[in-house]
Symmetry: C2
Subunit: 347 residues, 2 copies
């Protein structure tokens, strides 16, 4: 057990008080440049790393942020984590995971328990948790800072996301432009805010092109592969099948393609297919799946930075008027998306 150097070792070595070392470590002002240098040398020399536990106990911070998620797609989760971790590393923060199940009746309790045990300084909410008012309210009641990702900040606090509706509109427009008139659409689950937005984008493009949305060509889904299969079976069995199907996410689009293959329909000849998310899979399918790319990693990174900023602010204002929710912070940051057009929609 290579005993790690403590702050007092550093203090001794640099010939200053413990508190001064603390100041240097925390980048606080009012330390003479000369002294700061001395301390930094000692820190490097001893390869001193402050103990998170002690800092947390003493300072009331845990230097941990939480990621609350409910079974998103693997690649979404991993990309998001990557972004968050990158931002964390810079700020010397740690990331703790809290898987939750929004369907369960006591998500709220589960999450609160986890928060009490872990005591993160803030949390990042991913959909559909970020669209769950129960959770949002509970979180707000704790006073803990949070930021939502990939979820249109419906006034639920700060959020980082893309313009979902516009993305769906553009993809639909692309389909129409390619010559399709009978478009099918597979919706996502109702508890995701993006379900509505993506559908709105679809409708907007249709109406702009003067095509009426045929309700028999709109199917419900839950973002999983199997629901894409079911939706496709329904949509493709009707008398007048669509010539293109836009699924609200890639997993469901994969289900649609699976069914099309099984039915012997060629893609895109007999049926064009589009998805949403640009999972790695969409590149690997044959034919490649046209989809919308969200900069998920960047979203994670920005959300984390935003969260850190909130935490900072909260710490400073601490003890003052204790303003509940400074509503000015409800604004969200909107990142740009990218249409990835591949063989599944291109002749």
């Amino acid at each position: 057990m290579t005993s790690t150097a403590t702050i007092s070792d550093v203090a001794k070595m640099a010939g200053v008080s413990i508190k001064t070392v603390s100041r240097v470590v925390n980048n606080e002002p009012n330390v003479r440049a000369n002294t700061r240098e001395l301390v930094n040398q000692a820190i490097v020399e001893l390869s001193y790393k402050p103990s998170l536990a002690a800092r947390g106990l003493a300072g009331g911070r845990s230097f941990l942020i939480g990621l609350l998620y409910d079974n998103p797609s693997d690649s979404f989760l991993v990309e998001l984590q990557r972004g968050i971790l990158r931002a964390c590393r810079e700020k010397h923060y740690g990331l703790a995971l809290c898987p939750a199940f929004s369907k369960s009746t006591d998500v709220k309790t589960d999450i609160l328990d986890w928060i009490r045990a872990t005591q993160p300084d803030g949390v990042i909410l991913s959909p559909p948790l970020s669209d769950n008012m129960d959770v949002i309210d509970a979180l707000r009641a704790t006073g803990l800072k949070f930021v939502s990702v990939s979820s249109a900040g419906t006034g639920h606090g700060p959020a980082v996301h893309i313009d979902e509706a516009e993305a769906a509109r553009q993809m639909t427009h692309h389909l129409i432009e390619t010559g399709h008139r009978r478009l099918g659409f597979v919706k996502g689950p109702l508890d995701h805010a993006c379900t509505r937005l993506r559908y709105e984008g679809f409708c907007a493009a249709m109406s702009a092109a003067g095509i009426a949305v045929d309700n028999t060509l709109v199917a419900g889904g839950n973002f999983h592969f199997e629901s894409g299969v079911e939706a496709a079976e329904k949509l493709l069995s009707g008398a007048s099948r669509p010539t293109a199907i836009f699924a609200s996410n890639d997993d469901m689009a994969a289900g649609v393609m699976h069914v099309a293959h099984r039915k012997g329909l060629s893609i895109p000849g007999d049926l064009a297919v589009a998805g949403f998310d640009d999972t790695p899979m969409s590149r690997q399918f044959w034919p490649g799946l046209s989809t919308v790319r969200q900069p998920v990693e960047m979203i994670g990174e920005m959300a984390t930075e935003r969260l850190m900023a909130e935490i900072q602010r909260a710490k400073k204002e601490n003890g003052l008027h204790e303003a509940e929710t400074p509503d000015g912070s409800s604004n969200s940051e909107i990142l740009s998306f990218e249409l990835m057009l591949r063989a599944s929609t291109l002749g």
Copy 2:
């Protein structure tokens, strides 16, 4: 800020000393059942959750385990995390992530720095980190407990994995049994121990069937889709192409299928394809990909339990002879795998 109840609140409410509450919380012996009950009631009543930070500081433990990984497939990582988190939740442990890059020259330093800052009670190593002797040695030098997953414990300490060679042998056997004689194989990257094992299994089955391995039908890869594409282009361009290709993992198998489709080869008619890992994708492809299912989630769970046990043991023996590495612990646990045979190899 709903101020969280502290241990002394509980003690007051239960009418016992702080220390007794601590005993109950930590499940220590020598507390009368009656007293224990009293304390538990107070704990529930106040919905008390011990502070990780304080426990860590005082007890010298952090109640955190680390997961060190280097860019594995998304689904592998997510499944592994799921298993680990399940085990963690039971034991009230937290999980901290440490992405590392084994290609980088200072993986070792990166990891050590991370460990110093985070101070986990133990870490789980996933491939290829678990096969990197530099890392293993550095870890061992710190005295920190670790467990490897999905990596044949080549004597590098405890590990949890499947019998990779046997799995590959069985899959190869299946291919041979289906009538194939000209089998292609796509290897994984050299820094993964499983690369060798899977290849050995392949060779074993071939030799058992009396078929010589044709080196022109063995290609190298790196577990990524693109390398599968390259390998397939090489293997399928030769004069006498194989009638089946076994890729060491699903991503590369996806690459093989992609190329086959592009070349107009029907699967499995013109070419049978098999993979390894049973990523969700393998079910979704058309046709479904035959593959080997590792119980990744279970591996994560068992590795975590194993790690906890090691930590326990270390804690008890603490202060005694300080035996460096009780080599009896180098044994590994072997879980069973499952052959998932789907349309890509079945007529």
